[in-house]
Structures are given as C-alpha cells and as structure tokens.
C-alpha cells in the first residue's frame, strides 16, 4: 500500500468512477499516516467546493457560438446548392436514383393516364379516409409531444423537427412548443421552435404569446429570432404592437442594431 494508491482511490471515488468502499487495509494505512489523512480531507474539500456563480463565461461566448453554428449550417446548405457539375457529372446525374425515380414516375403517370377510365377514382370526401387521416395526425402529435418532453436536448430537437412534419394544427402541440420556447434550458431547442413556427402560418391566438415572449426575452439571440419571426410572418397588428412594446424597454445593443436594420429596410 502506498500514499498514491489511497489518493487515487479517493479521487476516483469523488469523480464517481470507483464504487470500491474504503478497505480495512486502507483505513489502517491512513490512520498510520496522519499527513495522508490531511491530504484526503483537502482533496475532498477541493472537489466539493463549487466555483462561485460569478465565474461564468461572458454571454457573448454563447452568442458567438450560436451565430457561428447558424453560419456553418447556412454554408453547408449553400455548398450543396452550388455544387459545380462537370458534363461528366451531368451525365452521371441522369443515372442517379432520384433521376431514375423521376423517369419511372413519369412513365407510371403516363401509363395511368392511358387506363384512367377503367380505374375507380377514390372519392376524397370518403369519411373513412378522413377519419383515418385524423387519427394519423393525432398519433403524430402524441409522438411529437412525447419527444418534446424528453430530458435530452438533442431528443427535444428531434421532437421539434417531428412536430413540423406532424403539422402544428394541434393546439396541445403548439402549447407544448410555446412552453419549450419560454422555458427550455437549451438555446438550440428554443431557436428550433422559432424556426418551426416560421415554417407554418402563425395563428392569431399564438401571436400574443409570441409578442410577450419577445418583450420579456433575456437571450439576445432568441430575442432577435423572435423579432425576425414576427416581423416576417406576423400580422400587421402584431408587428405594430411588438414595435410599440419594444420601444418601452431597454434592449441589448445587438437587438437594437437588428431592429434599426429592419426599420431601415421597411422604409426603403
């Protein structure tokens, strides 16, 4: 038995990488070496003293990170769009799966068109189809809400993406999304929720909630995203209400700058 064996055991125990309890041999060794007992006590204090809350990174670190992430996502999209095709790539492109699928689809439509008179057209008004569609939509909403309540931020992000596919017509689903937008600890999840609202029509009952959230938001990145959402897709009434409420509060410099740009653009 050596000092380092006991110290290593203690550190592993504090880091929760060791479940082995203190052995009798170790205990006797510590008793025989009082200076080691002092060191163990110091290690315990050092591990258990939490740094003060004032020692946190500046808010700009987070803002910078999310801006960088958004830029990189944009770059990835542009790279995919601007892929330069050589003539060889163009020829090969015609033999890729999507192109082949398109060709077969065209062929199928042509063939279908030839025999359309012999096929019984399904009445879209059929109530059983509508009921089935409603049930599917309801199940999708349930699955989305289950994902949105997970403890892991990445699972909640997947839930937001699934909600979009499920459609945001379900009021329970939109309420859950609004709650996430207000309270979620992950900025990424909150930004994803805003993005989801941006891709569907905002109902008037939700606009008031979004305006309040925007005015009370402390995170400048989220606040800018909310302003962008309401000024691009919100009703005229919502936009003017938001404008007048934002004028009554102190805004972060980045948010003020963004609003100045928006107002300048609107005047052009």
């Amino acid at each position: 038995m050596k000092h380092q064996d006991v110290i290593n055991w203690k550190i592993n125990q504090l880091n929760q990488t060791c479940e082995q309890p203190l052995t009798a041999e170790m205990n006797d060794y510590i008793t025989a070496h009082p200076e080691l007992a002092e060191e163990l006590s110091l290690i315990e204090q050092f591990w258990q003293t939490e740094p003060p809350l004032s020692e946190r990174p500046a808010a700009s670190v987070r803002t910078h990170f999310y801006t960088m992430l958004a830029d990189e996502k944009q770059n990835l999209k542009l790279k995919q769009k601007n892929r330069i095709n050589t003539w060889f790539d163009t020829v090969i492109d015609w033999f890729t799966l999507p192109r082949l699928a398109q060709s077969f689809a065209l062929l199928a439509v042509f063939t279908l068109g030839l025999s359309i008179n012999d096929v019984e057209v399904i009445d879209p008004q059929d109530s059983s189809i509508a009921a089935l569609q409603q049930e599917v939509a309801s199940l999708s909403s349930l699955v989305a809400m289950s994902m949105l309540n997970r403890s892991s931020a990445s699972e909640r992000l997947s839930g937001v993406s699934f909600s979009l596919k499920a459609g945001l017509a379900d009021p329970n689903l939109t309420s859950t999304l609004l709650a996430l937008l207000e309270n979620d600890g992950s900025t990424a999840v909150r930004l994803a929720v805003i993005n989801a609202f941006a891709q569907s029509k905002i109902e008037s009952r939700i606009e008031d909630n979004l305006i309040s959230l925007t005015v009370n938001e402390k995170n400048p990145l989220v606040q800018i995203a909310l302003c962008r959402l309401l000024f691009s897709t919100g009703s005229q009434n919502a936009q003017s209400t938001l404008n007048s409420r934002l004028n009554t509060i102190n805004l972060n410099q980045d948010v003020s700058q963004y609003l100045l740009q928006i107002n300048a653009k609107n005047r052009i």
């Binding site: 550190i11 020692e55 990170f65 992430l69 403890s151 892991s152």
Partner: protein
Amino acid sequence: MTDEKELMLSVQKGNLDDLAVLFENNHVQLYHYFLRTGNSRAVSDDLVQETFVKVLAYRSSFNGTASFRSWLYGIARNTTADYYRKTKHSRQYEDIDEHEVDANICLTEQIAGEQQQVLFDKSLASIPSDQREILILSRYAQLNYQEIADMNGCNLNTLKARMCKAVTNLQIAYRRLSKEIKQ
C-alpha cells in the same frame, strides 16, 4: 442522456444542432479549466470561443476512439498554446487584489465557499504547472486517469505518481497560505 461520443459522431454526419448540446454541457467547465490554468477571464472567454470554433472546423478528425471530453481538452490545450504563441503574452493569473482573502474571516468550518475557492486558486497557482493541470483536468474536466495520461503522453503509473505529488504540493501550499492569513 445521449452519450457525448455519439453526439459528436452525429455532428460529423451533418447534424450540427447536436453540437449545441455538447456546447451547453461543456463550455462552463472548459471556462473553469482555462481560468484555473492561469488565464484571465477575458482570455478564458476567447479560448472557449476559439476551442469550439476548432471543434466545429475539425469535426471530421474526431474518430471516436477516445471520449469526446478528452478530445475536447486536447484541442483546448493546443488552442492555449496557439494563443500564447500568436500574442506572445505570458500567462498571469487574474489580479490578486481582486481576490484578496479577507483576513478577518476565521479559517475553520465557517469559511465561506467563495473564500475557500480563492484559497484553492492561490494554492493551485503556486504549484508546478504540469501538476496543476492534471489536478484541474481531473477535478473540473472530470477526465479519468487514462485520458489524462494519454493527453500527457505518459503511462498510467507515472500519472498516478504525479497526481500524488500534485496533491502533496497543493496541501503544502494551502497550509502555508492559511497560516499567512491567520497571522
């Protein structure tokens, strides 16, 4: 909670939103790592930013053989070295005046958490930098011995011996500083 290694592999595949989860889980500890290895608060902020810029830029180099954290702190160390090479600054701890330990506070069980942290910080600052780093990586980054050994390019037994020395030196420094305050 999804494994950090899996999240990073997912980022490699193009799911960049998963990097946000890794950022939220690690950026505060990373900040503490930089602060306690002798950087000012402003420099620590810059180093956290720069580390995650590199994590994103070099995401394809993460091969999943080591844990995400040990890969992250490997980048963090290189980022620090690059920073000081470019700026030609030397590290110095935050102005000690800002963290003056109140001599009127009695050093028994009643010592406040913050004052205790200051004592630990000062004690850490006074031990050799290689010993300081392994203590910080174990305490704040919560890397295991093998990961720290790999990062330092030494074997496990060597690391255990260094850790033992680090703790002894920390104890000596802490005792000395505590006595100075009492006097």
